[in-house]
């Protein structure tokens, strides 16, 4: 038995903040257990919080609180003129953490970067199938995109792509692109315990992994050699896994934790009124929508789709489904994303005009299906109820709605089919803050029969989003995406419904916590005010 660590504090409650030795421990009541600690193997935010956001860094990173991409483990990068080659200059003297089994002998270098990606794309790599599949890497089409990765010198790495792809930098800031230690991986392979990479992670991030008691507690200590100065601000970070939202709130009130995610909507008002809680909030990087099947009559007529959009009372939906804490959506991308076109005007709620438009389009006695998802999502907390509200709205303009639903896997599969009957409620949460991640994935021609639930392939729109991928600067790309949003609104393949608002209750002594639009929970810059 080994005595590892003992924070000299007493009592159950707030004394966690400042111990006798003055060590600060930040406690985060997380909502679930991580699936593992190698972020590239998984796709859930809960796992990323416990791994890529704490233990690891990426070459480029998202500036906390924005979707802007800033240098991470790469100090700078250059893009070739044809847009197919990205050269990264690595940050010097970045140290990996150490643990009982491993102490690094060298700083991070090009070998680590190459290893981190090669293991996900090269079947010969010993880590290719060590624990699972590389879902995010594959779903972001990285195997088709990356032609090769070369080591220019110890501190320079070049990615050669098969085609120009401006969002590539944002992709490299994603969780699956976390930089692992090749030295550690080699050591574990030699020891015959490659799974340690997923169980006892070693990274360069602000917090070093210390211990995980399954389903209960994850402990981290501050990385004292962290490359960013004065970061992190606390000495210890603890994730107290607390699956029930009401219990998280009780723990926050009792001072058993300082920060909690995902409050119960019903508790939000009480939290706002409470002296023990400071409520932070931000619009989520998501959109909930109703996708028509634009290949089927009469929804192949934009006039009909627009008419139906005008019949939906979004304010009522925000009030009932989001309990007022949401924002009516007019564009397919959320307002926190760069290139959001605020000049676009939403179709006004006007059942009378909608009925007339349907008549003009020659549509009479329309009956249709509306699909309601069986699961809760931030962009749609209650799809069944939302479908009922839409059913009511449509009945006012003489459209008869039948609500259908399937088990989630079944729902995802059937709703993708090109000959699907009816309009589907679904949504999307952004992966990398790039508009391409919404517009191309959800509305591009490649997505028809897949993630493009409107089965919408519209030439003028497609040309613009394809061109935007090839342009080097954000300004040039933004211009095109703004134009794309205008076309989207005219063509109305979806009824855009809502963007949710993300709430983060924190204790009043928590300083410097910023709600991250990409949904992750980051503690690098968080400190605790001493009492």
């Amino acid at each position: 038995m080994k005595f590892v660590h003992h924070l000299a504090v007493s009592g159950l409650a707030l004394t966690l903040a400042a111990g006798a030795a003055g060590a600060q421990t930040l406690v985060y009541c997380s909502e679930g257990s991580p699936e593992g600690f190698d972020p590239a193997l998984y796709t859930s935010g809960t796992t990323f919080d416990a791994s890529s956001h704490t233990v690891y860094n990426q070459l480029a990173e998202f500036e906390t609180g924005t979707t802007n991409v800033v240098p991470g483990l790469a100090e700078s990068w250059e893009v070739s003129e044809d847009g197919t080659s990205f050269t990264f200059t690595l940050r010097p003297d970045v140290q990996f953490h150490s643990n009982d089994m491993f102490t690094p002998t060298r700083p991070m270098n090009a070998d680590d970067v190459i290893f981190s990606f090669e293991r996900q794309m090269d079947e010969e790599n010993p880590y290719f199938s060590y624990a699972g599949s590389w879902e995010y890497f594959n779903s972001m089409s990285m195997p088709d995109l990356i032609e090769s990765i070369e080591k220019v010198d110890d501190m320079t790495v070049r990615f050669n792509l098969t085609r120009p792809e401006a969002p590539f930098i944002a992709n490299l800031a994603m969780d699956f692109a976390s930089i692992m230690s090749k030295e550690y991986a080699d050591a574990m392979e030699e020891a015959g315990t490659p799974e340690m990479l997923n169980q006892q992670p070693i990274g360069t991030g602000p917090f070093a992994f210390q211990d995980y008691q399954t389903d209960a507690v994850i402990r981290y200590t501050a990385n004292e050699e962290y490359w960013e100065e004065d970061t992190p601000k606390v000495d210890n970070l603890v994730f107290a896994i607390t699956p029930d939202a009401s219990v998280r709130y009780q723990r926050l009130q009792a001072g058993e934790c300082h920060v909690m995610p995902y409050p119960n909507p019903a508790d939000i008002q009480a939290m706002m009124d409470s002296d023990d809680v400071e409520m932070l909030q931000q619009e989520g990087l998501n959109v909930g929508y109703l996708a028509y099947n634009t290949q089927m009559e009469p929804f192949d007529n934009p006039q009909v789709r627009k008419a139906l959009n005008m019949a939906i009372d979004k304010d009522a939906i925000i009030e009932v489904i989001f309990q007022g804490y949401g924002e009516a959506a007019k564009n397919p991308i959320p307002p926190t994303m760069w290139s959001y076109n605020d000049a676009v005007e939403d179709d006004a709620y006007d059942p009378e005009a909608a009925r007339q438009m349907l008549e003009e389009a020659g549509v009479e006695d329309l009956s249709m299906k509306v699909w309601a998802m069986p699961v809760q999502r931030p962009y749609n907390p209650n799809a069944r109820r939302m479908a009922e509200l839409i059913q009511e709205d449509f009945s006012e303009i003489g459209v008869d709605v039948e609500i259908v639903s399937y088990e989630w896997g079944e729902y995802l599969e059937r709703s993708s089919a090109e000959d699907r009957d009816g309009a589907v409620l679904l949504g999307w949460t952004g992966d990398n803050g790039d508009p391409d991640n919404f517009l191309a994935v959800l509305l591009g021609c490649d997505g028809v029969g897949g993630a493009n639930r409107a089965q919408w392939c519209h030439e003028p729109f497609e040309e613009i989003i394809q061109e935007a991928k090839t342009l080097p600067t954000q300004e040039e790309r933004a211009e095109l995406y703004e134009e794309a949003q205008v076309i989207f609104k005219e063509q109305a393949p979806w009824a855009t419904i809502a963007h949710s608002v993300v709430f983060m209750p924190v204790r009043p002594e928590v300083e410097g916590y910023v709600v991250h639009p990409l949904g992750g929970h980051l503690f690098d810059d968080v400190s605790l005010a001493s009492e």
Partner: protein, 335 residues
């Protein structure tokens, strides 16, 4: 007795085979393809789908998959989790002590209060005490666990601050698992206050989890006692002039114990299967929550392996109950 034991053991084999088939089949009859659920809103290409399908072994016929699973089970190999890639066996035994510790505390709480309450209610049948006890038991039996747990947390943790809200151990204590039982490990750690913290963390979840068994045991004890108390031999015992304590405690209770032990055995079986609600509310890292997470993630090896382990444990508990019957009632073991 040995013959009796062997006959009980013999029923183990077909039950075990049945449990293997059911645990394998159960998750596969649920609608929803695990690979499609994994891909989520984004979907995946047919090619990728086929690769994953091969990787997880779903491309082979079901009987082949079952045979592999079954032969693995016979060799003590329950497979590896699709999600964590850790052996199901390891995962189960890292979490089971938490479930066992909580279940034992809950059942001790339920017996300690339920048995005396049932006896007293039977002895004072129809009196105020009986009625009060039995109405309380009915309330306990019908209480929604979720609501009851939150109520206790709000009152005792929130308002009074007597107990921690959730978890197994104060976050300031940190020691390695030796036995997996917090009460023991906290003592072994030598850290002052750790044992007290472990006890404090056990109080509310034990009460919540023990409430329904408590009510059931109290009611069962009462009705069994009443039945026995009306028997002729009790009248004889009383007529002989034995003290009421001796009559109730020795003659009546022992004979009333058979149905009570059955109920306790069934409760223990249920509690060991993991108390999903209690574990979730109290952030208790046990197997109930683990199973539910795995069902949602369609983690086939964990769900089938976990179900099998739980079933085997319930079978063992039932066997112990059977042996206890034999010990209490010689007539049974001679049958």
């Amino acid at each position: 007795m040995i013959k009796y034991l062997l006959s009980r053991l013999a029923t183990f084999v077909p039950t075990f085979l049945g449990v293997c088939i059911i645990s394998f089949g159960f998750i596969r009859v649920l609608p929803g393809d695990p690979i499609i659920v994994m891909a989520g809103e984004r979907g995946m290409t047919q090619e990728r789908y086929e690769t994953l399908s091969r990787q997880f072994g779903f491309d082979r016929p079901l009987p082949v998959q079952f045979w592999e699973y079954f032969t693995g089970v016979l060799q003590g190999d329950l497979g590896r989790s699709f999600v964590t890639n850790r052996p199901v066996w390891d995962e189960f035994f890292s979490l089971f002590p938490a479930t066992l510790e909580l279940a034992l505390c809950a059942i001790i709480f339920a017996i300690a209060l339920g048995l005396p309450a049932g006896i007293i209610a039977a002895v004072y049948r129809g009196k105020f005490f009986d009625r009060a006890l039995m109405s309380t038991a009915l309330v306990g039996y019908s209480m929604p666990i979720f609501w009851w747990a939150l109520l206790l947390i709000i009152v005792f943790s929130g308002n009074l601050g007597w107990t921690p809200v959730s978890g197994r151990m104060g976050l300031m204590y940190f020691f390695d698992d030796v036995t997996g039982f917090m009460l023991i490990d906290s003592l072994l750690s030598g850290q002052s206050g750790a044992f007290k913290s472990a006890v404090q963390h056990l109080i509310l979840p034990s009460i919540v989890l023990g409430t329904i068994p408590l009510a059931v045991i109290a009611r069962q004890t009462r009705s069994a006692m009443l039945e026995v108390l009306s028997e002729d031999y009790i009248r004889t015992a009383r007529a002989k002039g034995l003290s009421p304590g001796r009559v109730n405690g020795l003659h009546a209770l022992r004979n009333a114990m058979i149905p009570v032990i059955t109920v306790i055995g069934l409760s223990v079986g249920t509690l060991l299967a993991g108390a999903i609600l209690t574990e979730t509310i109290f952030s208790w890292p046990g197997i109930g929550k683990w199973m539910v997470d795995s069902i949602f993630r369609r983690d086939y090896p964990v769900v089938q392996g976990g179900l099998l382990m739980i079933a085997v444990i319930v079978m063992i508990v039932n066997l112990i109950v059977d042996v206890l019957y034999g010990l209490i009632n010689p007539k049974i073991r001679k049958r």
